[in-house]
């Protein structure tokens, strides 16, 4: 081996803001390259929602009634969209805990890049994936007869709210990813995530659940997004008439905001605690 010249490489002079954006984009690009290198991973990630739509739509669908009438599959689809968005925080958490365990995050922190890019870039990649998931889900839903009868603007608004929910959960994922010690233990989070999506209006109207469970389900942030999406898509809503269900559109904005306000600082604090 020959000697390596010193300080031969410095980058072009640019502003701080330029490098912040560049750092974020490079982290995003890295996460997306992962999918390109592991096509099977993306097949699983996108295939799972399709299978769920078909399973819930046809296995449950034949037995389910929607209070106030309406087709169950029409009712179900916004629920499946929101469930997929909600479970997405698991992949954020997994990616973060894997990086932390491998020392990749430490390497990033020892570099002159913007520290915030580690999380922001990751989140941006997650949103790109979320868009792909929603597209696939919507196409599957259309194929089995689901229709968004509310008009294109309203449909866009519904998808926007779904992405907003996913956005707020990025910070939950980053925070959890920095909390749990190993990817294996992060897998245990499914045991929490699963009930959170089930005890909501995603699959069953809260008014059909026992009193306290129905209340919990109605107040679940996932439910607000689901109900708001149903309204905007023009699908059966099956509102139980409670305040939170009647103000679903508002709450579908408020909940993600609250989640972000709580978990973004928590994630930042956790990140800073790495240097304690």
């Amino acid at each position: 081996m020959t000697a390596l010249e010193l300080n031969a490489h410095t980058g072009p002079e640019r502003s701080r803001a330029h490098w912040l954006l560049a750092d974020c984009w490079n982290i995003t690009r890295r996460s997306l390259t992962h999918y390109q290198r592991q096509p099977l991973a993306i097949v699983w990630q996108l295939g799972f929602p399709i299978v769920s739509v078909l399973l819930y739509g046809y296995v449950f669908g034949s037995a389910m009634k929607v209070p106030g009438g309406g087709d169950y599959r029409e009712f179900l689809m916004p629920g499946m969209f929101a469930t997929t968005m909600t479970m997405g925080f698991m992949s954020t958490a997994m990616a973060v805990v894997t990086d932390a365990g491998k020392g990749v995050i430490d390497r990033f922190r020892s570099m002159p890049m913007a520290p915030s890019a580690v999380a922001v870039g990751r989140g941006a990649a997650d949103l790109v994936v979320a868009c792909a998931e929603l597209t696939i889900l919507a196409l599957t839903a259309l194929a089995i007869g689901w229709r968004a009868g509310g008009g294109p603007l309203e449909a866009a608004g519904a998808f926007g709210l779904l992405l907003l929910l996913r956005f707020s959960l990025i910070w939950v994922g980053v925070w959890l990813g920095l909390m749990v010690p190993t990817p294996e233990s992060a897998g245990g989070l499914y045991a929490v995530a699963f009930p959170v999506t089930m005890i909501s209006s995603a699959l069953v109207a809260p008014s059909l659940m026992p009193g306290w469970l129905g209340t919990a389900a109605a107040w679940n942030p996932v439910s607000s997004t689901v109900t708001a999406a149903r309204e905007l898509f023009g699908n059966p809503v099956a509102s139980g008439g409670t305040w939170v269900e009647e103000h679903a559109l508002l709450m579908a904005l408020v909940w993600p905001l609250v989640i972000t306000l709580v978990f973004l600082p928590l994630a930042v604090r956790r990140f800073q605690r790495l240097s304690r």
Binding site: R37, K102, P112, M113, S275
Partner: protein, 328 residues
């Protein structure tokens, strides 16, 4: 390089863990001092749990410290962490590369994050792949790499900026002899290029081979600071060891061994058949003793050379062995 003239300077550094919520306080660094001259390889030698990783993480801006002063590449670590980050490279105790990406993708990604720009990152990745002998594996995923290759990729990633100071935390732990050799070659090449290297290790022979200066760390404190030769002199250098076949031959064996003794004592240990002494020229001593024993027709059970181990160093310097708690 700095006002102090050192590439790395640590004075009285204290790093405490715990001590909150009733947990017992633990001083991972307890008044740690270190001075590394520019352009040298400096070994930080210590057993598991001595505080090596903590020291490296403090120096590399990853960990805040509670007291003391730390300067790296002429900058105060606490006051200008970002400036320090632009002048250092770090290879942690575990290879910190992206397992999913290929070797080339890893280096290009880190290069872009080091702000080399797209073209600059690509060019630098090409150079480093060549330098670290990874051209053939460049397009393969890191999961397919051997331990040595992974380490080399890790080293390459920490060399992207051709940093003024490079920290290597136990770069060969867990590698087979071939992997170790590969990493050693890479480190030597780096230093030939002018980089200052601080290398932590649990192996005296590794520090001996690579470093021009060694600091021995024990319980968060530097307990010795010397050249490898100076350290070995204090510990007692290489030894020749002969085990006699018959206890009766012992005096004759001791006499033969005595001929090569480099001024030190000839020690007969309590088994009653083993004789050893310190030597300066290992191979010559071995040849001479073997010939002398053969000439006199003395049968031996075993004859060999022994390098002092980290255990020997600790026994001599601290009076206790390396049997500290086993820690990360």
């Amino acid at each position: 390089m700095s006002a102090s003239g050192y590439a790395v300077l640590a004075e009285g550094v204290v790093k405490r863990y715990g001590g909150r919520k009733g947990a017992a306080e633990k001083r991972a660094l307890d008044g740690f001092d270190l001075a590394v001259r520019p352009g040298t390889v400096h070994g930080l030698l210590g057993p598991n749990g001595a505080g090596k990783t903590t020291a490296v993480r403090v120096l590399a801006t990853l960990l805040r410290y509670d007291a003391g002063r730390v300067e790296v590449a002429g900058l105060d670590v606490a006051r200008e962490p970002r400036g320090v980050r632009g002048r250092i490279g770090l290879t942690g105790q575990y290879a910190a590369v992206d397992e999913v990406l290929t070797g080339r993708q890893n280096l290009e990604m880190f290069g872009r994050l080091f702000h080399l720009g797209r073209a600059g990152a690509r060019r630098r990745a090409g150079e480093l792949l060549e330098r670290f002998d990874l051209v053939e594996a460049a397009g393969k995923g890191v999961t397919e790499y051997s331990g040595g290759m992974r380490r080399r990729l890790d080293l390459a990633a920490s060399m992207i900026l051709a940093p003024a100071v490079l920290f290597l935390d136990e770069p060969t732990t867990g590698l087979d002899p071939r992997g170790r050799g590969e990493v050693w070659d890479a480190v030597r090449a780096l230093v030939a290029g002018g980089t200052t290297v601080l290398l932590t290790t649990q192996y005296l022979d590794e520090a001996d081979r690579l470093a021009s200066h060694i600091t021995v760390i024990d319980r968060g404190r530097a307990i010795a600071d010397d050249s490898p030769d100076g350290l070995k002199d204090r510990v007692g250098g290489d030894r020749i060891e002969v085990v006699a076949a018959e206890a009766a031959d012992l005096p004759a064996v001791a006499k033969a061994v005595g001929r090569v003794a480099g001024g030190g004592l000839v020690v007969t240990d309590d088994t009653g058949r083993r004789v050893h002494t310190q030597v300066s020229d290992r191979v010559a001593a071995l040849t001479e003793v073997a010939r002398a024993l053969q000439d006199e027709g003395i049968a031996v059970e075993d004859i060999g050379l022994r390098r002092p181990s980290l255990d020997d160093v600790f026994l001599r310097l601290t009076g206790h062995g390396t049997d500290l708690e086993v820690a990360a």
